[in-house]
Amino acid sequence: MKLLIIIPAFNEEGAVGTVVAEVKGVLPSVPVLVIDDCSGDATAAAARSAGAKVLALPTHLGLGGCVQAGYKLAFELGYEYVIRVDGDGQHDPKDIPGILARLKESGCQMVIGSRYLRQGGKFTSHARGAGIVLFRLVLRPILGKWVSDPTSGFVGVNREALAVFSKSFPLEYPEIEALVVLKRKAFQFEEVPCSIRPRKAGRSSITATKSVYYILHVLLGVFVNILKYDGPRRR
């Protein structure tokens, strides 16, 4: 079993070292790859000193391009499973084994760590929560099943999904559109409960003013992906 943990990071020097160390603490023998999205700070150095390998992008590509670079490298290096953990420290690495176990047991191509499935879990702000409810309603008929946390970046994929994502992956705000990309390929996903913690440092890239653009962009991306639907998968 070849597992790679990827951590996309942009200007996360204050948090990424701790995140890498926590992942190493939970899974000491698993390689950790930080994808540095051309940060202006010492993100890459902090990641390296914590024991991670660094894939350094020469220009700032945004979250989707950054994550896809990690998927491409993982696919080329022959990894069977890749789990993405955010570089801001919001995801608890103790949840990684649960995601990996479900990926292996279920045989589905993607497993999402959902903050909404664990009782007493810390939820997001009211505005963002309302956005998530909207996306759930939009995605329900498209995906054919309920998804509790469509914006979660705590995601594990197997090699089949890697093959798809290394060729086609949304470049901006990728989480929701990625679900529709999977649906286009007739792939399956599942959710497992996970914890969400406050950011260790830095600020979210989605500010209040950007949130309207975010919603419109994602809805349009979902619609465009529906237009590209490939039909049932031929085996």
């Binding site: 994808i35 390998k53 660094v54 894939l55 350094a56 992008l57 020469p58 220009t59 590509l61 391009g65 896809q68 670079a69 491409k72 490298l73 080329e76 470049l171």
Partner: protein, 117 residues
């Protein structure tokens, strides 16, 4: 009406001059100047040929020919903008792919170097 058509003609000539100057200074590549020069030439011809403009506005059902000219100009520039949006999207995809490829090659080069040591 004549004054408006004169203004459009002057604007078209200025646009053509600006594009040609930019091509000469290598600020715009020749292939991308074609759209702008075609748009400017179309506007210049329509603004100088009242019979052609009257014929077009008659076919479009517009009683005031300068309004037809403005509509046609808007349409021509929308097509130009659309062409450039397609081109920019292609370039962004290529740029993303190249940046990812470069990062991966550098990573593999460093890894190979580390393995040797």
């Amino acid at each position: 009406m004549d004054r408006l058509l004169d203004v459009v003609a002057i604007f078209s000539i200025a646009l053509m001059a600006m594009v040609l100057l930019s091509v000469r200074r290598s600020h715009i590549r020749v292939e991308y100047s074609v759209s702008w020069l075609t748009a400017a030439a179309t506007l210049l011809i329509l603004s100088r040929s009242s019979s052609l403009l009257n014929w077009l506005s008659g076919h479009l059902g517009i009683s005031y020919p300068p309004l037809a000219l403005i509509l046609i100009a808007s349409w021509v520039f929308l097509v130009v903008f659309y062409r450039f949006s397609v081109r920019i999207s292609d370039l962004k995809d290529a740029n993303t792919d190249l940046a990812q490829r470069l990062a991966i090659l550098e990573y593999r080069l460093h890894s190979a170097h580390e393995d040797k040591q």
